[in-house]
C-alpha cells in the first residue's frame, strides 16, 4: 500500500502526468473556445486524428517540426471552417454535424494514410520534439522536472492556457466571443457579426484541437497509428464541463485526469496481474464521471450553447 502511495512523490510519475496532459490541454482549450462561442464541436475526435497525421506527415516528408505544427493547425482550422459553416449560417444540428465531422476527418485521414504510404508494414518514424530543460526552474525537486523538463510543445500548451484566458477576459475579441455564446443578439445589436465571431472561434478552437492531436505523433511518440487518439477528444469535452468553461479550471481538470491515467499504469505494475488490468484502465474515466457529477451540476454553461442564431428572430 505504501508503494502505491510513494508513486505520487516520484518525479517520473509527474513527468508522465504532464506529458499525458499536454494533448488534453490543447484539445480542451480548443473545445472551450468553441463552446464559449456557443458551438459544441463534437468533431474534436476526428480533428485530432487529422492533426496528428498531417503534422507528422509534414515532418516525415522533410518539413521542419514547427512547420508540422502549423500544418496540423491549418488542417484543424479547415475542418473547423466546415463545422462552422454547417452549424452557424446553416444552423444545422451541432450534434449531428460534429459527429459527421469526426467520421469524415478520421476516415479521410486513414484513407490518405493508405494512399500516401501504401506499402508500409511497420509505421515509419520521424525525429520528434525533444525535452528541453528550462534552466533553474527544472532543478526544483519533483515539480521541476515534471513541469520544466518537457518538450517545447508542452510549453506551448501552458502558453495556450494563459493566452486563451487573457483573450477571453481581457480583450475586446474575447468579450465578443463570450457574448456570442451567451446572447448572440447582444452582439448583433452592437454591430458585430455573430456569424464571423462564431466561425472564427470554431476555426481557432479546431486548430488547437489539431495541435493536440499532433502532440501525440510529434512529441509523445514518433509515428502515426490508427486509433491513437483513442477517445481523448471526448475526454476534452468532459473536461470543458468539469472546468465550468473556464480555462484555469479546465487546465486543472486536464492535469488531474492525466495524473489518474499515469497512476493507473503504475498501479497495474505494482499489483502484478491480481486485479484485471481493465479495471485500472477504467479508473480515470470512472473518476472523471464522478468528478463531473460533483462539479458540473453547479456549472453555469454558456446560455446560447447549441442554439443556432437566426438574424431578426427573437
Amino acid at each position: 500500500m505504501t508503494e502505491a502511495f510513494e508513486i505520487l512523490f516520484t518525479a517520473s510519475f509527474w513527468v508522465a502526468a504532464i506529458r499525458i496532459a499536454s494533448p488534453l490541454i490543447f484539445a480542451t482549450m480548443g473545445e472551450l473556445i468553441c463552446e464559449r462561442a456557443g458551438v459544441l464541436n463534437l468533431g474534436i475526435e476526428g480533428i485530432m486524428v487529422a492533426g496528428a497525421f498531417s503534422g507528422w506527415f509534414t515532418v516525415y516528408m522533410g518539413g521542419d517540426l514547427w512547420t508540422g505544427v502549423l500544418v496540423a493547425a491549418m488542417t484543424g482550422a479547415l475542418f473547423g471552417l466546415l463545422h462552422g459553416f454547417l452549424t452557424v449560417p446553416l444552423g444545422l444540428s451541432q450534434h449531428v454535424t460534429g459527429i459527421g465531422i469526426t467520421l469524415l476527418a478520421s476516415s479521410l485521414t486513414y484513407f490518405t494514410y493508405r494512399i500516401l504510404l501504401p506499402e508500409v508494414t511497420s509505421p515509419p518514424k520521424i525525429e520528434p520534439f525533444q525535452p528541453f530543460a528550462v534552466p533553474v526552474l527544472s532543478d526544483i525537486p519533483v515539480l521541476g522536472p515534471a513541469l520544466f523538463n518537457q518538450t517545447p510543445l508542452t510549453y506551448l500548451a501552458y502558453l495556450t492556457v494563459a493566452a486563451v484566458a487573457f483573450m477571453l477576459y481581457r480583450t475586446p475579441v474575447g468579450v465578443a466571443v463570450r457574448a456570442v455564446g451567451e446572447n448572440p443578439s447582444a452582439v448583433e445589436a452592437q454591430g458585430i457579426s455573430v456569424t464571423a465571431v462564431r466561425i472564427g472561434a470554431v476555426m481557432a478552437g479546431s486548430a488547437l484541437m489539431a495541435i493536440g492531436g499532433a502532440f501525440l505523433t510529434m512529441s509523445a511518440f514518433n509515428s502515426f497509428f490508427f486509433e491513437m487518439i483513442n477517445g481523448r477528444g471526448w475526454i476534452a469535452i468532459a473536461l470543458v464541463v468539469f472546468g465550468s468553461w473556464r480555462p484555469g479550471k479546465a487546465l486543472i481538470g486536464a492535469i488531474l485526469f492525466a495524473a489518474f491515467d499515469a497512476y493507473q499504469v503504475r498501479l497495474q505494475q505494482i499489483t502484478g496481474g491480481v486485479i484485471p488490468y481493465q479495471i485500472f484502465l477504467m479508473m480515470p474515466f470512472v473518476l472523471s464521471i464522478v468528478a463531473l457529477v460533483v462539479v458540473a451540476r453547479r456549472a453555469t454553461y454558456p446560455k446560447a450553447l447549441m442554439i443556432p442564431y437566426q438574424k431578426g428572430e427573437r
Binding site: 481581457r170 480583450t171 475586446p172 475579441v173 468579450v175 465578443a176 463570450r178 457574448a179 451567451e182 446572447n183 443578439s185 447582444a186 452582439v187 448583433e188 445589436a189 452592437q190 454591430g191 458585430i192 453555469t300 454558456p302 446560455k303 438574424k311 431578426g312 427573437r314
Partner: protein, 516 residues
C-alpha cells in the same frame, strides 16, 4: 419640453414612404415620420400595427421595399445594422440584448473597440459609465454581473449602451412593459434629462396613459398604415384610442361580484426553487363568483404559483384544498379531473402544440374521456366536431379543424385555448397572462369571457403583469413578491402608487400568511 415643439428645431430623422411587404402582407404601407431635435415622439399602435417592422427597417435588420431614411441630413444605408449605430441611433429592445453572465461594463464596451486590440480599456470605460449614469439618473454599478440586476437596472444598462456610443436618437420599444410604476417614473425622468440634453426619443407603446405623459407628439399606426399624427397636448385619450383601434374602443361592463364559497384554497404552500422564484408559505382562497387578481413583477413566483395550481409542480409543504377536500396528490390529471380550466402563460410553449392540428390540440386535455376515445382508440369524428364547435362558439379564425395551430394568429390561438379551457364550464379557472401580446379587440374578448365565467359562479385567478388589466378585472387584488403574497385588497382600495409599493416588496410582512 416646450421649446422642443418649436417648429424650427432641426429634423434629426426622417423616414419617407417606407413600404415593406412580406408576401401578400403589407407590414408597412408608405409610412413617413419625422423626429426633431429634443423631442419625444410616441409611436402608438397595437400588436401587428407595424411598429416593430418599421424599427427593424430603421435598424437595418430588414430592407424596405420602397422609401428611404435620412439621419441628420444624410441618407442611411439600408440593410446594415452598423449604419444606424454609426449614425447615432440607439435602440432599447423590448427583449433585452444583454449577455447575462457578463458584467455591465463588458456589455457596454462590446463592439465599441477594435476587436483585435490587447486592451479593453476598463478603467476609462468605468469612469465614463459612472459619469453618464450620474448625469442621466441611470445608476448601475459597472462591475456587477447582469444576472444580479433587476429588470429596471437591466434597462438602464441598455440605455447606457446607447449613450456610451454617443447616440443622439434613442428608440425605446415598449420600455415600460416590464417596469414597476416607480421604475416607470424614474425612466420618464431620465427621458426628460436626455431630451433636455438635446437627444431625441422615439417611444414605442400601446399604453395611452404613458404616451400622454411622456411624449410631445404621437404618431399612430394601424394595420401597417399611418393612422394619424397629433400633438400630444392637443389630443384626447379617446381620440388616440380610436385612431389606434380604428373605431370605438370595446368596453367591458363589470358588475358587482356575488362571492360564493371558497372553491380552491392553498394553505401555507411552499415549492422548491426550480430556476425562478419559489413560493414561500403561500395561502390564498379563491371564491366562486369572484376574480382574484395576482399582480407582480415578472419572475417573483407567478410562474411557480401557476405551475403549482396546474399540477405541474409539487408543493414541498402545505395543503391544497379543492371543494373543501384536501388533495393528497395534486397533479395535472387531478387538476383536470377536479374541473380546473387552465389558460397557460405561454401559449406557444405550453398552451398549444404548434405542429399539431386544431382538433388534436382541443382534445389534448380530454382525450381520455369516453367522449373522444373508446377502448383506447381515438374518435376523430368526435374530436373534429368538438373543434368545429369551439371554432364557432369562440369565433376562432382558422381554415379547418385539421389546420396546424402554428398558422393561427396569437389572438386566435388564445381563443382556441379559451375554448378548450372554458367549454366544460369549469368552476375553477387559472388564467396566466391571458392577454399578453393580444390586440385590443382580442383583449376585450378574453376579458368578456372571464367576466362571464365569474358571473356564472366560477372562481377565477387572474395572473397578470399588466396593472391596468388587474385593476379593471379583479374583485380582489393580491400582490406577489419574491414568493410571498400580500394581504388581499378589495377593488379600488389601493392607488396605483400603493400597488407599486407592494410590487416592489414594500409592505409585505415576510413570513406572515393570511387566509384570504
Amino acid at each position: 419640453m416646450d421649446d422642443a415643439q418649436r417648429p424650427e428645431a432641426e429634423i434629426v430623422l426622417r423616414l419617407s414612404g417606407i413600404t415593406k411587404r412580406f408576401g401578400p402582407l403589407v407590414a408597412n404601407d408608405a409610412i413617413s415620420l419625422t423626429l426633431r431635435r429634443g423631442e419625444v415622439v410616441a409611436l402608438l399602435g397595437e400588436n401587428g400595427a407595424g411598429k416593430t417592422t418599421l424599427m427593424n427597417i430603421l435598424f437595418g435588420h430588414y430592407t424596405a421595399d420602397e422609401g428611404g431614411i435620412e439621419a441628420f441630413g444624410a441618407p442611411l444605408r439600408p440593410g446594415d445594422p452598423n449604419a444606424a449605430l454609426a449614425a447615432g441611433i440607439g435602440m432599447v429592445h423590448q427583449h433585452f440584448t444583454l449577455a447575462d453572465q457578463m458584467t455591465v461594463l463588458e456589455n457596454i464596451v462590446l463592439g465599441t473597440r477594435p476587436l483585435w486590440s490587447f486592451n479593453l480599456g476598463k478603467a476609462a470605460a468605468r469612469k465614463r459609465i459612472r459619469k453618464l449614469a450620474a448625469d442621466y439618473g441611470l445608476e448601475v454599478e459597472p462591475d456587477r454581473m447582469i444576472t444580479e440586476l433587476s429588470v429596471g437596472e437591466r434597462q438602464r444598462v441598455e440605455i447606457l449602451k446607447a449613450l456610451y456610443r454617443e447616440a443622439r436618437i434613442l428608440i425605446l420599444d415598449e420600455p415600460t412593459a416590464v417596469l414597476t410604476p416607480m421604475e416607470t417614473q424614474a425612466l420618464f425622468a431620465t427621458l426628460k434629462k436626455l431630451v433636455a440634453a438635446g437627444l431625441s426619443v422615439i417611444f414605442i407603446s400601446h399604453k395611452l396613459g404613458e404616451v400622454q405623459s411622456v411624449s410631445d407628439r404621437v404618431v399612430v399606426l394601424r394595420g401597417g398604415k399611418l393612422a394619424g399624427e397629433r400633438t400630444t397636448s392637443e389630443a384626447t385619450r379617446r381620440e388616440l384610442a380610436e385612431l389606434m383601434v380604428g373605431g370605438q374602443l370595446p368596453v367591458n361592463e363589470i358588475g358587482p361580484p356575488s362571492p360564493g364559497a371558497i372553491l380552491f384554497e392553498l394553505r401555507g404552500v411552499s415549492t422548491r426553487s426550480t430556476g425562478g422564484a419559489a413560493l414561500r408559505q403561500v395561502s390564498i382562497g379563491l371564491r366562486g363568483g369572484e376574480i382574484t387578481g395576482l399582480a407582480g413583477i415578472s419572475g417573483n413566483g407567478q410562474a411557480a404559483l401557476a405551475a403549482l395550481i396546474a399540477g405541474t409542480v409539487e408543493a414541498s409543504q402545505g395543503d391544497i384544498i379543492v371543494h373543501g377536500e384536501t388533495i393528497a396528490h395534486w397533479s395535472p390529471r387531478a387538476a383536470l379531473d377536479k374541473g380546473l380550466g387552465r389558460i397557460p402563460e405561454d401559449r406557444h410553449a405550453t398552451g398549444m402544440i404548434g405542429d399539431m392540428s386544431v382538433a388534436e390540440n382541443v382534445i389534448s386535455e380530454a382525450y381520455r374521456s369516453p367522449r373522444f376515445s373508446r377502448f383506447g382508440f381515438l374518435d376523430w369524428k368526435a374530436a373534429a366536431s368538438f373543434a368545429a364547435d369551439i371554432i364557432k362558439a369562440y369565433d376562432v379564425k382558422c381554415p379547418s379543424p385539421e389546420a396546424r395551430v402554428r398558422l393561427l394568429s396569437g389572438g386566435n390561438m388564445q381563443k382556441l385555448i379559451l375554448g378548450r379551457a372554458l367549454d366544460g364550464g369549469p368552476d375553477i379557472i387559472l388564467a396566466s397572462q391571458p392577454t399578453r401580446g393580444l390586440d385590443v379587440g382580442a383583449v376585450a374578448y378574453v376579458h368578456a369571457r372571464l367576466i362571464e365565467a365569474r358571473d356564472r359562479g366560477a372562481a377565477v385567478l387572474l395572473i397578470s403583469e399588466d396593472l391596468d388589466e388587474i385593476q379593471t378585472l379583479s374583485d380582489r387584488i393580491v400582490v406577489i413578491h419574491r414568493g410571498h403574497l400580500s394581504r388581499p385588497s378589495a377593488r379600488g382600495e389601493l392607488s396605483v402608487m400603493e400597488l407599486g409599493e407592494l410590487l416592489a416588496g414594500h409592505g409585505h410582512d415576510e413570513g406572515a400568511h393570511h387566509v384570504a
